[in-house]
Amino acid sequence: MVAKPVFRTCGLTGLKIHDEAEKLIKANAVVAIVVLAVGGLFGLLVALTRWPSVHLLPADLFYLALTAHGIDILIVWCIFFEVALMYFASAILLGSRLAAPKMGWVAFALMVLGAVITNWKVLEGNSSVMMTSYVPMQADPLFYVGLILFAVGALIACFIFLGTLVVAKAEKTYEGSIPLVTFGALVACIIAVYTIASGAIILIPTFLWSIGLIGHIDPLMYKVVWWGMGHSSQQINVAAHIAVWYAIAAILFGAKPLSEKVSRMAYLTYVFFLQIASAHHLLVEPGLSSSYKIFNTSYGMYLAVLGSMIHGLTVPGCIEAAQRKKGFNKGLFEWLRKAPWGNPVFSGMFLSLIMFGFLGGISGVTMGVEQINIMIHNTIYVPGHFHGTVAVGTTLAFMAITYFLVPALWQREIMFPGLAKLQPYLFGLGMGVFSLFMMGAGTLGVSRRHWDMAFSDAPHAFSHAPAAYLMMGVVGISAVVAVVGGALFVLIIVCSVFFGNPIKATAPAPAPSPVASYGSEEHASVPGTFTLALLFLTMFVLYYFVNWKYLASTWLMS
């Protein structure tokens, strides 16, 4: 027998909240934050080892911590939180029941089990193979089993999300089209499905190889398929955190998209052009043709990059339009100056937006050029770039929305409001500087995933430029600042969830009208945002061509 779904109305937002959906969102979000804390701690150990004058861990523990940090943050933290977001964007935003909540718990259990098994094997010390686990380097068979279980769980969660969309449509919980944020989550889900499929296609044979049932896994084939998971999983993050940006703009400012059509088209470019983008990691690989590399690395002639550049205008643009409507009309930037910079929901979101574009975005496109990658592949520039996307982009955006989810779902006030105000700046700016200086050190040739930049035990001698040491020092210091910010986040959220003052359910807020009354913002003028966009483009063009010039100065290769 199927029990009748139980709903409550949110006193804060007026949203209709399905009891089972809420429990699942909470469970997934809590595990995500626990994993963030664990993965962040490993990250701190890695950073303190790469800080040349500290050089904390011995080599074996360094490679172990780095493997754990990569898996926990890049995969486990992001995907757990994204599952919570998918349930939120479907069941809660559509006022529907969640499809198959029992399967939701199965998915949750599989993901937890998988993450625990893989972490256990890494901590045992015989699976320090890095997140990428390139064959023929071999990990413990259970290392792969853990990842496979995790992937299966995540796949089930994707189908629950899709099922919920079907249920909501069939039960007419809303009219017309799904909201933009749900649409963004749908795009994330579509990417997630082929991402997870790629993971299964490569990890299952790799597991069979690790127990001796398959004789050989081709290293090049492994990389082409593995990165179909590794790279695409970061595109789930992009689609998801852009949905979070739009959601926060709506929650805080009541912002309407400048144009529903343009924003959705921008999302669609991801579905059409992101493909299974492995080539970013294979640009200097032997045995793959340049034409494959060029088409794949450019996401189909950069048309998916076009999508991101559009969001880069429309997200701040919708905030500007909403603020101007409220009368913040002076000059180009009064709307931004008078924004709620003391509210971590906003400051986290806006720092995430700016730094994702300027740090992660520009560097990502530039290093993804087939030839420019010759100067960048496997240097510490690469983690510099993806801390600019995953840490200051995705993680900071997820932190920002958590400050909204705690009062909305747990119905608790955020504790330590003073610290909460400071937290996004510590984490965001710390990570921003960290990312920037890693890219600097990478340009000077410092290697990623490397325990000793002084090469003390090597058969030959080589010294990096003193500037490289200086930059790695700054990397260490800024990592500590960011980790303090990250730890504060975990502390504030955990304390608020358990000990925060319950929010009294007074008169529930009026429910959003079932007949939607919102469309595009009409005739909004957004000169401030357009100025920011032009500044972004100028930096982008300059940085892009400076790198070509730098490439032209090195040895000739053909």
């Binding site: 380097m137 592949h377 000793d452 090469f455 030959h460 040895w555 290769m557």
Partner: protein
């Protein structure tokens, strides 16, 4: 709002000029960036070669040994790695294995060499510093790159693909002798 369903007919609502302008600018920029890669293949001087062959590690090792025997001019470093000075324009072999680059190469500035890279075991990363050239090295693949050093001096070959516990000790050397 973005968290509520849009009103019917949203698809036909007009798009503001500023937004269209930005889409246009971004599209042009995207296409310029796309054109740069094939263009650099035609006009640029730093490109990935598309030449690679399947090879057995033993066969590659044999080619390296043959070259070392023919062109060895000395030994160098803590483990007495042979130093070879192959003639300009010739096929030069560099082997990667846990955890060394073998042998030390002595090249002439401004001269071209057909450099063959392969690994005997796991994957390795060929990172010539401070020239900052980074290529991936696979077991079983003979990767051929025509390379012309334009600067002289001693260059480190850092392994920048993680290859186990001795990864950070894997450092080789290329010496580029100034043109006479």
């Amino acid at each position: 709002m973005s968290i509520t369903p849009p009103k019917a007919g949203w698809y036909n609502e007009p798009v503001d000029k500023v937004e269209l302008l930005w889409v246009g600018i971004a599209l042009v920029w995207a296409l310029i960036m796309f054109a740069m890669m094939p263009l650099w293949h035609l006009k640029g001087t730093q490109n990935m070669s598309n030449e690679a062959y399947r090879i057995h590690p033993e066969a590659f090792q044999a080619k390296v040994d043959e070259m070392v025997e023919k062109y060895k001019v000395g030994e160098e470093g803590k483990v007495q790695t042979p130093v070879v000075r192959p003639p300009a324009g010739s096929d030069v072999y560099l082997l990667a294995r846990l955890w060394e680059w073998y042998p030390v190469l002595e090249l002439e500035q401004g001269k071209s060499y057909r450099l063959h890279l392969s690994s005997l075991d796991w994957q390795h990363g060929f990172s010539v510093q401070p020239a900052n050239i980074n290529l991936q090295v696979h077991p079983g693949i003979d990767e051929v790159v025509t390379i012309t050093p334009t600067t002289s001096g001693d260059f480190g070959i850092i392994c920048n693909e993680y290859c186990g516990i001795g990864h950070h000790t894997m450092l080789g050397k290329i010496r580029v002798v100034a043109a006479k």
